[in-house]
Amino acid sequence: MKKSFVPGRRNSAYLFMAPAAAVLLLILMVPIFNSIRLSFFDWSMRQLTQAPTFIGFENYRELFASQNFRESIRVTITFSLSVVTIELLLGTVLALLLEGEFKGMRLFRTLYVLPIMIAPVVVGIMWRFMYHPSYGKINYFLGLAGIGPYGWLSNPDIALISVIIADVWQWTPFVFLLVLAGLQGVPKDIMEASVVDGANYPQTLIYIKLPYIAAVLGLTAVLRLIDSFRSLVVIYNMTGGGPGVSTEVMSIHLFKTAFTSQRLGLASAVAVVLLLTIALFASVLIYNSLKKERR
């Protein structure tokens, strides 16, 4: 490693950090701390001028007794596990099939960046239109094959699947790009040696490529898991969490508790549960990065 550390310049080190640290502290950390504090209070949006009332763990008790909250946990887990599994499988298979440089590959990789860059609001709108019961193209094309029509966003049994499909559309490219980058790290000489030794494709795949990209796959899975727990906007603009609570993931449940039911204390308790879940997943990434730091 290059020599890049010069100890003993402490003042500058802190001075350069200070502005960013101040913004992170005031705009992210203080609000997060406030959220944790508020989760022990009863406070309604209707009485913002009044001081919140301390009620201990009452919000948490109410939360875990609530049918809707438990349902939102179930929906979140179903949604997250489905999208992570499908996206990892599709993205990896696609990357393995399209590995290597050939004409047209660059344009294709570029196209695959598009869904990731487009605003979640716009993605929600696009899919809402495609799923439209009477003039959406999905029902039209399926109708040509004699299937359907389905109420993609109005049928509570199907709505979650529809939302999962939209997420898979947007984020499979992300997995594809990461795995493709990981595959570029597989040393060429080892691949060539194995071919000379008579290894067939399944053997090189199982014994060389997959072990090499295992770390990338793991990190991608954690990143996608965290992101899927955070996702809200696409679903919100497609279904608003409905019909009923069939697509109401935890983040939408939080938002509705705060701004529809106007119960800020209870919503903060949801925020704490969501925060702890994500911190748990994130600790894997942090551990991994700090390990690199020591090297």
């Binding site: 290059k2 890049s4 310049r9 402490r10 500058s12 802190y14 350069f16 950090m17 502005p19 960013a20 913004v23 992170l24 005031l26 705009i27 992210l28 609000p31 997060i32 406030n34 508020l38 913002l48 696609l94 050939f102 047209g104 990789r109 695959y112 960046v113 598009l114 990731i116 860059m117 487009i118 605003a119 609001v121 716009v122 993605v123 709108i125 239109f129 193209k137 559309w169 992300f174 790009l177 990461l178 990190l219 991608t220 955070r230 809200l232 919100y236 603009n237 938002f255 705060a258 903060s268 925020a271 925060l275 994500i278 911190a279 997943f281 994130a282 990434l285 990065s289 700090l290 730091e293």
Partner: protein
């Protein structure tokens, strides 16, 4: 089967896969853009007409509705300002973390990584309460502050990896010549990490331009940004798909521009942290 035939078959299979993949990725985008260019009669016609006379009617009615330019300029001001602040402050902090050892550095790094994962929605309640008690503050200022903060962790992280790859000798000789740390940073380091600044800027702009939930909470009908405006359109007038897709297409324009001009930087930014460094 000869080797050549087999190779051609593999290549053909790859192209078929690419065509199917590209079609799947592009179809929803094509649907959005083509609907925005159709009159209602054409937009809802089934079977769809592949060739239709494109019209800018939807764009005209969207653009000449008095509020569009207000929302557009709100979005632009918020996105550009938060990009400038977040990348600037991020670069400073990144330089410190890349070059110097100081007490609490490990904690700072762990904290930055953790803050990078914070869901926006968790901030909705406390940030709403915070800015509600400072009612005199414009919602746009609130958004600029929040987006600056939200993007700092990623910017610090990406810029730090770029700085760590620079050889230290240049900076060393400048310091021996008597330059202050800030001059070294501004005159030597910053010009050399241009690609990193580009990656950080595009990603910050993208988040600030696209963000929905905090903007919904913090803005009113004057300070609203485009994503919130189009979403409210969706619930107000459920059937005006022509106008809705027109605004949606306008929101997506920066995404198209960035993708087709800087795909390589974008892929680097997306893979940062997972594949390398």
């Amino acid at each position: 089967m000869t080797f050549q035939v087999k190779k051609n078959l593999t290549l053909t299979m790859k192209y078929i896969m690419i065509l199917i993949g590209a079609a799947l990725v592009l179809f929803p985008i094509y649907e959005m853009i083509s609907t925005s260019l159709k009159l209602p009669v054409d937009a809802f016609r089934l079977p769809p007409k592949l060739f239709f006379v494109p019209t800018l009617t939807n764009y005209q009615s969207v653009l000449f509705e008095s509020n569009f330019f207000r929302f557009f300029s709100n979005s632009a001001v918020v996105a550009v300002s938060s990009t400038a602040f977040s990348v600037g402050l991020g670069a400073l902090a990144a330089y410190s973390l890349a070059r110097w050892n100081f007490g609490g550095k490990k904690t700072a790094i762990a904290g930055i990584l953790l803050l990078r994962m914070i869901p926006e929605v968790i901030l909705a309640v406390p940030v709403f309460v915070l800015f509600n008690s400072f009612r005199f503050i414009d919602g746009r200022v609130g958004l600029i502050l929040v987006y600056t903060a939200l993007n700092l962790p990623f910017n610090i992280w990406v810029l730090r990896t770029f700085i760590m790859e620079l050889p230290y000798e240049l900076e060393e000789s400048a310091i021996i010549d008597g330059c202050t740390d800030f001059t070294v940073f501004r005159k030597i380091v910053l010009p050399l990490i241009g690609p990193g600044v580009a990656v950080a800027s595009i990603f910050t702009f993208r988040i600030a331009w696209n963000e929905f939930i905090l903007s919904l909470v913090l803005t009113n009908r004057f300070t609203r940004t485009l994503p919130v405006a189009v979403s409210l359109y969706l619930t107000d007038t459920g059937t005006e798909w022509g106008k809705i897709t027109a605004i949606a297409t306008i929101i997506a324009v920066p995404a198209f521009i960035f993708t087709f001009t800087a795909a390589k930087s974008l892929i680097m930014g997306l893979t940062a942290g997972a594949v390398k460094g």
